[in-house]
Amino acid sequence: MLGYFSKVFEKSIQTSTTLYATLKLMYKHLDIKLVNLPLFKNTAIPLSKTNFTMLIAIAAVAILLSVFSYQYYTFTSAKISDIASHEVKTNAQIQVHDLSQILSNKFESISALLQTLADSPAIHNNEYNRASIVINTRQQYSNQLTDFYMWLDKNGKMNWLSNINQSAYQKYKGTDLSYRPYFSVPRDTHAAYYSSLIESNDKIPRLYISYPVINMTGKGSPGIFTGVVVASIRSITLGNVLQHQLIPQFNSTVGLLDRKGTVLYSSTPSFIGNDVFGKDIQSMLSSLLPSESIDSLNNLLRSSLQGSTGSGDISAQGKTSTISYEPVSINGKYFLTLYISAPHNLASDVGLLINQQKNFSTIIVIVIAAVAFGIAFLVFLWNKRLKVTVDKRTAELKTANEQLKIHDKMQKEFINIASHEIKTPTQALLGYSELLQRHPEKIEEISQAIFRNANRLQRLTNDILDVTRIESQTLKLRKEQFDLADLISSIVEDFKNDIQKKGSNIKLLYEPKDHLILEADKGRLTQVISNLLSNAIKFSKKNGGKISIATTMQNSNDNDKKVFVSIKDDGTGIDPAIMPRLFTKFATKSEAGGTGLGLFISKSIIEAHGGRIWAENNNSDAAEAGGATFYFMLPLLPTTITKITSPTTHNFV
């Protein structure tokens, strides 16, 4: 059993190894295949190594199970076949024993009948009429087996033959049968005789049982032989009777051999009367059976003819039959041998069923394995998809969280800035108003400082109000027609004066080229330009800084006229950290000062005029401070534009 299991295991391992190689190959192409499936059209999701290993494990277990179940069924099938064969064999043995007992009994009863006949007074006294009736009656008792009864006189001539009519009797009466052993042997031995197969005058093979009729004249006398009574049994009748005793399901057949090996009965009628080891039968057998089967059959027959009981299996053309034999004796005397041949049909039927079951269960195991494999595969895929989705959501949440953090930081920054911007002028106002009382002589200086700081507070208030207006979309423009070139010029003049007052030497360069007539809110545009200029000044080098303002037109002859204004400085440039949110609220570094509202307001104003505002660093490398340039674009009115000065083209957009 252990060897059997280890074999099964070995086989399973081999199969699993092959499968692993196949799956590995399959796995290589899995991505591509999956993409082609409609379900996974846009997502190429390869299985993870763990999942793949689990699939392999499922497949391996399934294969192990199916190989194991196949082997197990083969094993049980062989076992069941054995049991069935054993059953057939046992049955054959039981049957042959039963039949030989039956046969013995029948022969013994015939023998007993003959004995009573031999002792009957009618026969002793040669009362022919009475004797014939007695003989006929006795024959009736055993007519299942016997053909006829005969009564022969002391010379072997026929006295009476049962069951024949008068005319036939006349024909056979006095027939000399003294040469037959069934007459001569009882005459000589004064004992019962059981014949071998004898072909009678009518060519029908028969068996005979005979009893001597002895007249006992006195005590101690051997008695006077007056004739024999004979019972005749047709071999074919004998065979048929036996055959009827057999259980039909087993498809067994009966055979009878006499002591010498002559066939008394066989399912093949041509065998009857022949020597079983004779030429005819042996040559016939050799055409049906392989030589080793003939040998074993002949051995079996030889041992059976020695009066023993036994059985053996004979195989031919893939079919096995059990032949069981047992001697039949009459009154302890070996008379003939009975054979029962039982084919192992039942066993092969059972084997066939088991084979079917074996195949079926193997298929079932494979199907279950395939389904398990499929389900596992799908589950893994869904898992993977789920993971991808979760990862995506997590990333989104992370981004949202980061944005919240930035927002929070900005909020904090705003509080810092707002508090600084409000408290600084307040501090100054507070300080100066106190000092004004202590130092009335400094009234002019102090009142200027108070004015400056009050102004600063007012600007801040205005900025905050502007933001509120922009956000509530209530920023109103008071549009009028004017020349932007004039406006820029006047603002630049103011700034120049301011710079001069502060004693700084920052240079402001602006050369008006064209009349730039537009319809806009003059105050608001002033606010934008002032804001951009003060930013430029704030970030410029305090000594020798240079700020250039330029305007350029696009589509000068078209209706869709635009002006591009640029304000270029050579200061520190725009911090890369600020750049992406340059025009949003509170976009400032606390060190730089200011509310960070100016550019947001400027952008809103320019956009409210249908324009655009943007900025860039002059040097792409932020480390090299090359200053920054701010641009804004505004639509112009379609009026004729007069050149103010000789045109010098500046292209910096």
């Binding site: 508090s419 600084h420 100054a428 106190e434």
Partner: protein, 114 residues
């Protein structure tokens, strides 16, 4: 010494402190202030935090290198910076933060407390 990039603020405080009999060096540029700072040269330093070129904390760190025991007040619009600074200089006390706006007459009290 007082350092603040807002010249109006330093001017008012300078006058206020001088009225109280102090000698005041006022600077609107931190680097300039640092170049004038020497060990044991000043009894007290008042620093703005939000300044261009070098903020109040950086200036404080540089000044500490010159004079370990220098007494410093931070003059600031908010307290937000306190938590940050506490991590870098655990010895800093909340009382060292003067929150704007501040009345000139309060300057004397601060000095006394210090």
């Amino acid at each position: 010494m007082i350092v603040d990039d807002e010249s109006d603020i330093i001017l008012s405080i300078k006058i206020g402190l001088e009225d109280n009999g102090f000698e005041v060096d006022a600077f609107s540029e931190p680097l300039l202030a640092l170049s004038h700072f020497k060990a044991n040269s000043h009894a007290l330093v008042i620093l703005d935090i939000k300044m261009p070129d070098m903020n109040g904390f950086e200036l404080y760190r540089e000044m500490r290198k010159i004079d370990e025991k220098i007494k410093v007040f931070f003059f600031t619009a908010t307290e937000i910076y306190y938590e940050d600074l506490k991590e870098i200089f655990p010895t800093i006390d909340k009382g060292q933060f003067i929150i704007k706006p501040l009345a000139i007459e309060d300057l004397e009290n601060f000095d006394l407390e210090a």
